[in-house]
C-alpha cells in the first residue's frame, strides 16, 4: 500500500508597521525609492554613544495587531538584544523581544475555498527593528542602512498548515487583516510583508515533526503556494526513494519557478540574548489595553458573515465587499443612506462601482463619489426618475466632476419623461409613422409592444419612463 503523507508547514512572517517614523529614532519609517543611506541618523546607523528611544506608535500598532490575532497583550514586555555580526546590522545586535514579547498566544482562522476552516495558532508575536540591506555588486559588498530601525512585528505560526494552498490562504487573510486594521501596507513586493516557510512531511496520522527545510525569498502569495507545493513534492520523492530530508535553507527563484539550495543549516546560532539595558520595560496599563482592544474594528470574516445574514447577500458578494475595510464601510454607509434594498446596493457596487475603481486605480476611500452620492443615484433609478443607463453613466460623471447627481441630472436634462401629455404626444407621433405595425398589433401580434417602446425611447433619447410608456401604449393600442 502506498504511504499517505501529510505536509507540515509553519510560517515566519515579518510585518512592517506603517508608522510615521522608525522604531527608535525620528527618521521616516518608509524609505521606498530613496537613495541608499539617505534616510539614516546616528541612532539607526548604530554610531557609538547614541541611545534608542521607543516609538509609541509602533507599540500601539503591534498591540492592535496582537488583539486582532486574539493574542493576549502583555501588560509588561521587554526588549532584548540579539547579538550577531553582519554588515547590515550596524550595532552588531538587533533590538528585539525574546522571552517577554508584546503578544502571547493567539490564532488566525483561515477559511479555505471548500468551506473548511483551519485555526492556525501563533507561536510568537513580537516587536523588533529591521536590519539594513546588503548586496554584492561587481564583487563589492554594498550596504544600505535606510531600512535599519524600521518597526517590524515578527509573527511565527505553529506548524499547523498542511499545503501550499493553506499557506497561501493564511497569507491572503493575514494581508487583508493587516490592511483592515491599518497597521501595515502589507505590500509583499515592497517587503512590507515578508514570509519564510518551514516545510516538512510526515506519514498521515502521525504527530511527529520531521526534519524541515526553510524556504526564503518568496515575495508573492503565488510564490509561496508554488514553492511549498514543490518542496513538499521533492521531500516526498526523496523519502520514497529511501533518502533522508536534510535540514537546509532553500531560495525560491520566481523567474524559473525553482528552489535553489542555499546552505546547510549549521548548528543553531547562539545570539546571547539579554535584556536591552538602554530601554525601559514596555508597560501598557489595563485601561490602555482595554482601549486598544475596544478600538479593534469588526474583523473581515465576522463582517462577511454579518453581511450575509443581515443584508441577505450571497457569500460571493459578501466576500468581495469585505475584501477591504473601506469597501465594506462604503457599502454599509450606502445601504444606510439609500432606500433601495441592500442587495440592490450590492449589485451596483459589484457591477459598476468596482469597475470604476478598477479603471481609476482608486480604493473606495479615495473616490470622490461618496456613499451619499451613490445612494442618491440608486434612489433616482429606483424611483424611475432616471434610467438605469443614465444612472450608470452618472457614476463616472459624479466622480469626475465632484458635483451632486441631482445637479447633473437637471443641468443635462437627463431626467425621464414621466409627464403623461408629453409621453402621449411622442407616442402619437410614433404610431402615425408606423401604420402597418399598428395594424399588425391590432391583428393580434402583441409582441410588437416592445418595438413600440423602443421607438418612443429612440425619439426621446432614452429619457422616456419605460414603465409609463408601456402602460400608455397598451392603453392607446387596445382602444
Amino acid at each position: 500500500m502506498m504511504t499517505q503523507y501529510e505536509i507540515v508547514v509553519g510560517l515566519e512572517t515579518h510585518i512592517q508597521l506603517n508608522t510615521e517614523t522608525k522604531i527608535f529614532c525620528s527618521c521616516k519609517a518608509d524609505s521606498w525609492g530613496a537613495e541608499p543611506n539617505t534616510n539614516i541618523c546616528p541612532v539607526c546607523s548604530g554610531l557609538p554613544g547614541v541611545l534608542p528611544v521607543l516609538n509609541a506608535e509602533a507599540v500601539q500598532k503591534a498591540a492592535l495587531l496582537a488583539a486582532a490575532m486574539h493574542a493576549e497583550i502583555n501588560p509588561v514586555s521587554y526588549f532584548d538584544r540579539k547579538n550577531y555580526f553582519y554588515p547590515d546590522l550596524p550595532k552588531g545586535y538587533q533590538i528585539t523581544q525574546f522571552d517577554e514579547p508584546i503578544g502571547k498566544g493567539g490564532y488566525l482562522d483561515v477559511h479555505m475555498p471548500d468551506g473548511s476552516t483551519r485555526r492556525v495558532h501563533i507561536h510568537k508575536l513580537h516587536l523588533e527593528e529591521d536590519a539594513g540591506k546588503t548586496k554584492i555588486e561587481a564583487g563589492r559588498r554594498l550596504v544600505d542602512f535606510n531600512r535599519c530601525g524600521v518597526p517590524l512585528v515578527e509573527m511565527v505560526t505553529e506548524p499547523e498548515l498542511h499545503s501550499g494552498e493553506e499557506a497561501a490562504q493564511y497569507l491572503t487573510e493575514l494581508r487583508q487583516l493587516l490592511r483592515w486594521i491599518g497597521v501595515s501596507e502589507a505590500d509583499m513586493e515592497r517587503g512590507h510583508l515578508r514570509c519564510d516557510a518551514n516545510v516538512s512531511i510526515r506519514e498521515a496520522g502521525s504527530t511527529v515533526l520531521n526534519t524541515k527545510t526553510e524556504i526564503k525569498n518568496m515575495n508573492s502569495i503565488e510564490s509561496i503556494r508554488q514553492a511549498i507545493t514543490l518542496e513538499a513534492q521533492r521531500q516526498i520523492a526523496a523519502v520514497e526513494a529511501g533518502e533522508r530530508v536534510e535540514s537546509y535553507t532553500l531560495d525560491w527563484d520566481a523567474d524559473t519557478g525553482t528552489l535553489r539550495k542555499m546552505r546547510s543549516k549549521e548548528t543553531e546560532a547562539d545570539y546571547r540574548y539579554f535584556r536591552e539595558p538602554d530601554l525601559l520595560p514596555v508597560k501598557l496599563s489595563e485601561e490602555e489595553i482595554a482601549r486598544i482592544e475596544s478600538s479593534l474594528p469588526e474583523l473581515p470574516y465576522a463582517r462577511k458573515m454579518r453581511f450575509i445574514a443581515e443584508y441577505q447577500l450571497s457569500a460571493y458578494d459578501a466576500d468581495i465587499l469585505t475584501s477591504e475595510r473601506s469597501l465594506a464601510d462604503y457599502f454599509e454607509e450606502t445601504v444606510r443612506l439609500s432606500s433601495a434594498a441592500p442587495k440592490t446596493v450590492s449589485n451596483w457596487m459589484m457591477n459598476d462601482l468596482l469597475r470604476l475603481m478598477n479603471d481609476l486605480g482608486k480604493s473606495a476611500s479615495e473616490l470622490r463619489l461618496r456613499p451619499a452620492e451613490l445612494a442618491e443615484i440608486i434612489d433616482l433609478v429606483e424611483s424611475g426618475k432616471i434610467s438605469p443607463a443614465t444612472g450608470k453613466a452618472l457614476l463616472r460623471k459624479v466622480e469626475e466632476s465632484g458635483r451632486k447627481p441631482s445637479e447633473i441630472v437637471t443641468a443635462e436634462g437627463l431626467g425621464l419623461i414621466g409627464d403623461e401629455d408629453a409621453l402621449r404626444s411622442q407616442i402619437a407621433a410614433v404610431l402615425s409613422e408606423s401604420p402597418s405595425e399598428v395594424a399588425n398589433f391590432k391583428a393580434g401580434k402583441e409582441s410588437l409592444l416592445g418595438w413600440f417602446v423602443g421607438q418612443v425611447m429612440r425619439r426621446t433619447g432614452g429619457k422616456a419612463d419605460p414603465k409609463r410608456t408601456r402602460e400608455l401604449l397598451l392603453e392607446i393600442l387596445r382602444k
Binding site: 546616528p42 546607523s45 548604530g46 554610531l47 557609538p48 554613544g49 547614541v50 541611545l51 534608542p52 528611544v53 521607543l54 538584544r81 547579538n83 555580526f85 554588515p87 550596524p90 550595532k91 552588531g92 545586535y93 559588498r141 550596504v143 547562539d270 546571547r272 539579554f274 539595558p277 538602554d278 530601554l279 525601559l280
Partner: protein, 533 residues
C-alpha cells in the same frame, strides 16, 4: 597664585561679575597644562625621558581653539548683558569616552583612533550651555575597562600628581589627575564600577557618581549600559554640587534618564549634619578576595589607614551633631565584584559588537579573504587586552549554555545587593540611614605596573565602590587624609536614590570642618614641581 588655584564656583562668580576675563582663565589653565602635563597620550609615543616620567599626562587632546571660541562667546554674552550661565568661563576637561563634536573621541582605543562624531553628549552640551570652556579630552583605561588608566592605547598613561610613580586610578584617571594638578577645576567622568570615585580617591579630589538615570548617558560610549553614570569630578564638594546641578536632569534622548525633579544642590550644602544618621558597616572594613589557587572567597584586610580614616571622619561628623550608626550589615557587599564581572562583561561584549571595522574607526590594512576574517583581524589589531578579555568573558557567561548559571544568577545577586542598601536607608527600618560611610578604596594609589597584568586584583580595587552601581544609588568620594607615603586617602558616602543632596551635604560638612587639617595644606608633587620652576 593665579586662577588655576581658584574653585569653579569662584571663577564663575568673578567672570559673571565682570571681575575676571574668561580668556585669562583659559590661558592660565592652558599654561598650567603646558607646564605639568607633558606630551599627550598617543598611539605611537616617543621614548620617555626622566622629565616626561614626572609629568601628569592627563590629556589625549587639548582643544585650545574650541575653548578660545567658547571664551569669546562668554565675553560677547557678558558684553551684551546676557547671563553666560552658572559655569561661565570655568574650564572643564572631558573624559575621552564622551562624544564631543569638533574633537576626536578615542575611548582610549586604537579601534577609534581617528573617530570624529557629528554630535555632542547631552552632559557635555549642558556644560557648554552653562558657559563652561571645554579644555580637552582626558585619558582613560581603554573603553573605561580598568582601575588605573594604564590600559589606554594612548600612551603615556596619566600619572598620579601626588607621586608620578603611582597610578591615578581609573578609569577616569586623566580626569582626576587633571583636576588634582590644577589643569582644570572640573572634569566630567563616568562611573560603571567606581571609575569616578576610585581615581578621585587616589588623586585626592572629589568625585560623585549620581543615581542611575540622574545624568544622561546620551553621547557616552557605553561600557555597562545598566551601570554607567556620568558624574562630576572637582577639587571640593561645592564645585561638585555646582557641576552636578548643570549635568542632572531628564533627557528625551535617553529613555533611562529620570524625570525626577532636580533639587538645588548648592542650597542644600550648608544645612549641616545635625540629626543625620551616618552608618558604618563591618562589611566594608575588609574585602572578600578569591584565593588564586582554589577560587574560594577569603577575607583580606585593607590598608589600615583606610579604616582609620573612616573612624576619623565619623568622629568629625559626630562632633558636628550627626548620629553614627555602627554595625550596619551589608552581607552582599562581598558579592559585588563577582557579580560585576558577569553583568558588566555581558553588556560590554555586546556594546563592543559595533566596532567591526566596517563603518568607521580602525580597519586592518592586511589583505583579508572574507568578511569574517575582516572582523577577526580588525578586532584583534584594534582592541587591546582588556576589551578582548571582557568580550571573551561576556560572551561565555551570556551564552545560551551558561547564561542561567552566570548571567541570570548575577542579576539575582544584584537585586540582593540592592536590597542591602534598601534596608539600610529604609526610613521605617532598623537603620534609617541618611548616608553610609565607607573607605572608597582598599588601598591608596598603587605603583605603576604593579597591578596592571593582574586583571582580577585590578578589578577588586572597585570592591568598595561597585555596590552603588549595582544598586543604582548615588555615592561620593572625598579626600580624607594622606597615608604615610603622602598619597591621598578617600572616603565614600553612599546615599539613597536621588539623595545626592544629602551626601553632598554630609561631605561638605566634613570638608568645612577639616579646612585647617595639616594634610589639607599639602600640595601634590606635580604642583610643587611647577612652583620650583
Amino acid at each position: 597664585m593665579n586662577t588655576t588655584s581658584l574653585s569653579a564656583f569662584e571663577i564663575a562668580r568673578r567672570v559673571r561679575a565682570g571681575e575676571l576675563s574668561p580668556m585669562q582663565v583659559l590661558e592660565e589653565h592652558l599654561a598650567q597644562i603646558a607646564a605639568v602635563d607633558g606630551i599627550p597620550g598617543q598611539l605611537d609615543p616617543p621614548a620617555m625621558d626622566a622629565r616626561e616620567e614626572q609629568k601628569v599626562h592627563a590629556f589625549i587632546q587639548v582643544t585650545a581653539d574650541l575653548a578660545r571660541k567658547q571664551a569669546e562667546q562668554i565675553q560677547a554674552k557678558l558684553a551684551r548683558g546676557e547671563d553666560p550661565g552658572p559655569l561661565a568661563g570655568v574650564p572643564v576637561s572631558i573624559k575621552d569616552i564622551f562624544c564631543v563634536q569638533c574633537t576626536t573621541t578615542t575611548a582610549g582605543s586604537r579601534i577609534l583612533y581617528n573617530f570624529r562624531l557629528p554630535y555632542t553628549a547631552t552632559t557635555v552640551a549642558r556644560l557648554e550651555q552653562a558657559g563652561a570652556l571645554i579644555l580637552g579630552k582626558t585619558n582613560l583605561d581603554e573603553f573605561t575597562y580598568g582601575s588605573s588608566s594604564e590600559s589606554s592605547a594612548f600612551q603615556p598613561h596619566p600619572n598620579n600628581p601626588w607621586n608620578t610613580q603611582h597610578v591615578t586610578g581609573g578609569s577616569s584617571g586623566g580626569s582626576a589627575a587633571a583636576v588634582a594638578a590644577h589643569e582644570t577645576p572640573l572634569s566630567l567622568g563616568t562611573d560603571t564600577g567606581g571609575s569616578i570615585r576610585q581615581p578621585a580617591a587616589f588623586c585626592g579630589v572629589v568625585g560623585l557618581k549620581p543615581t542611575y538615570g540622574r545624568t544622561s548617558r546620551y553621547g557616552l560610549i557605553a561600557f555597562g549600559s545598566s551601570l554607567d553614570c556620568p558624574g562630576p569630578m572637582a577639587r571640593n564638594v561645592s564645585d561638585a554640587a555646582l557641576m552636578l546641578q548643570v549635568l542632572a536632569g531628564a533627557d528625551p534622548k535617553d529613555s533611562t534618564s529620570s524625570i525626577q525633579p532636580v533639587p538645588d544642590y548648592l542650597a542644600a550644602l550648608a544645612e549641616g549634619v545635625r540629626g543625620l544618621r551616618i552608618g558604618i558597616s563591618p562589611d566594608y572594613d575588609h574585602i572578600a578576595y578569591p584565593d588564586t589557587e582554589t577560587g574560594e572567597m577569603g577575607i583580606q584586610a585593607i590598608q589600615p589607614e583606610m579604616n582609620q580614616a573612616v573612624r576619623e571622619v565619623a568622629q568629625v561628623l559626630a562632633s558636628l551633631g550627626a548620629e553614627i550608626v555602627e554595625n550596619v550589615p551589608m552581607p552582599n557587599a562581598r558579592h559585588g565584584i563577582p557579580t560585576y564581572f558577569v553583568i558588566s562583561r555581558v553588556e560590554a561584549a555586546s556594546n563592543l559588537h559595533r566596532f567591526d571595522g566596517v563603518k568607521y574607526g580602525y580597519r586592518t590594512q592586511k589583505p583579508v579573504q572574507d568578511l569574517s576574517e575582516l572582523y577577526r583581524v580588525t578586532r584583534a589589531e584594534g582592541f587591546g587586552l582588556q576589551p578582548k578579555l571582557r568580550i571573551l568573558m561576556g560572551m561565555y557567561v551570556s551564552a545560551a549554555a551558561h547564561s542561567a548559571h552566570y548571567y541570570q544568577k548575577a542579576l539575582r545577586v544584584r537585586s540582593l545587593i540592592r536590597a542591602d542598601f534598601e534596608r539600610a536607608f529604609d526610613p521605617t527600618g532598623p537603620y534609617r540611614l541618611d548616608a553610609l560611610l565607607t573607605p572608597t578604596t582598599p588601598t591608596t594609589a598603587f605603583r605603576r605596573k604593579e597591578v596592571l597584568r593582574d586583571t582580577v586584583l585590578m578589578q577588586y580595587s572597585d570592591q568598595m565602590t561597585v555596590g552603588a552601581n549595582h544598586a543604582g544609588i548615588p555615592a561620593i568620594s572625598i579626600p580624607a587624609g594622606l597615608d604615610p607615603q603622602g598619597l591621598p586617602i578617600g572616603v565614600q558616602f553612599f546615599g539613597n536614590d536621588f539623595r545626592e543632596d544629602l551626601i553632598l551635604q554630609v561631605a561638605y560638612a566634613y570638608e568645612q570642618a577639616t579646612q585647617q587639617a595639616p594634610w589639607r595644606q599639602e600640595v601634590p608633587q606635580a604642583l610643587r614641581a611647577t612652583e620650583v620652576k
